[in-house]
Symmetry: C2
Subunit: 206 residues, 2 copies
Amino acid sequence: KEVEKNNNTIANLINNKLHEHNIKSFDIVGAIGAGKTAILEKITDRLAQKFKILVICGDITTRVDADRIQKKNVDTIQINTGRECALNAYYINKVINNIDLCKYNIIFIENVGNLICPAEFLLGMDKRIIVVSTTEGEWVVEKHPLLFKMSEIAIINKIDLVERLETDLDKMVNDAKEINPNIEVILTSTKTDEGIEDLIKKLNLK
Amino acid sequence: KEVEKNNNTIANLINNKLHEHNIKSFDIVGAIGAGKTAILEKITDRLAQKFKILVICGDITTRVDADRIQKKNVDTIQINTGRECALNAYYINKVINNIDLCKYNIIFIENVGNLICPAEFLLGMDKRIIVVSTTEGEWVVEKHPLLFKMSEIAIINKIDLVERLETDLDKMVNDAKEINPNIEVILTSTKTDEGIEDLIKKLNLK
Ligand SMILES: Nc1nc2c(ncn2[C@@H]2O[C@H](COP(=O)(O)OP(=O)(O)OP(=O)(O)O)[C@@H](O)[C@H]2O)c(=O)[nH]1
Ligand SMILES: Nc1nc2c(ncn2[C@@H]2O[C@H](COP(=O)(O)OP(=O)(O)OP(=O)(O)O)[C@@H](O)[C@H]2O)c(=O)[nH]1
Ligand SMILES: [Mg+2]
Ligand SMILES: [Mg+2]
């Protein structure tokens, strides 16, 4: 409880700092392999000309995700958490204090692939985007209610596979809305680009 | 550290108790939606006539997995962990103390869908089986070395999708062997039944 209180205090500091610099910020959480990096690749592809973007990637080990996104001409920072199952506000605050915030308009964080632990740590971002995919089984939403409650946007990715897998997509969408009536559910595929424009509109980046 | 020491003491108690009753035991860990329950459905389908099986399912919420496996005429127990990202030895010990161990020859545990937290908690089972699938991206193995080090068997499931997804299966197999040269890697599909017989043989259940 003490840790959570500290974490939330730091998260508020981070959010204030980013607002002072007019930076919009998003925390992307999701299941392992749901497509968080692939979605960030699509977003940065379309926005890197118009906005100055920083992407912070979290994983227990490797630089795989940062190396993929770096190819899209945006600044990336990879954080390795060792045995910890989620990023926390300390990690993010350390990064924020060591960069020149004037350089950026948008910050995306790709959290560690995990649908449980990120619920414990707010990161001080404006919005939280949760990503699940059609390959994880139609129960993945109802099994992880807490993160859906805490997110503003839910992405159901890999809809190009729905016919092949016969996944009950309606159930996934209904479960998300039942858990959080205010959540915005967007269906995407990074293979066909379906839903990517819709997602970018819903980020309200003008 | 204290918690881990306690946990391991209890895990040893559990393992001794099961050995006294000649019970073989397996802890199945894996990514969310990798196919842990689907594999257990296949295993119990084939073994329920010959062996008396108990399956303990762990999830933060719902009874979805236990309800699916119960249809296979085996005893199941569902544990809901609330906000905890993995089962631990306390949970298992409580279950073991409340059942008649003489009734069973084999116990399977399906752990919470998560490739990080289960590494912290041994459950006192004979073997640990880690399940990943071709849909999570080919980096899923190298990103989660600790659990692969701690497992005796690695299952790469959903191989029926390899052609469609163009997943680099060789990389996944090589990464697993690099992290843990003793690990037994088995390729399966619960859609085509490929690899299921091989898996059952490797469990050495005679
Ligand atoms: N068919 C299909 N495959 C996809 C889609 N999006 C991502 N993938 C594949 O899914 C796998 C995982 O994608 P990533 O972008 O690495 O997923 P991630 O959520 O960032 O994974 P982690 O960071 O490791 O948790 C890769 O093999 C991608 O090619 C999609 O819309 N359709
Ligand atoms: N194509 C294909 N789909 C599979 C295979 N195995 C499982 N699935 C599908 O993958 C989804 C998830 O399977 P589950 O058995 O629920 O996976 P799980 O690991 O038990 O999931 P959680 O307990 O929720 O973490 C379901 O929609 C299954 O039908 C397979 O070998 N091939
Ligand atoms: Mg990623
Ligand atoms: Mg399951």
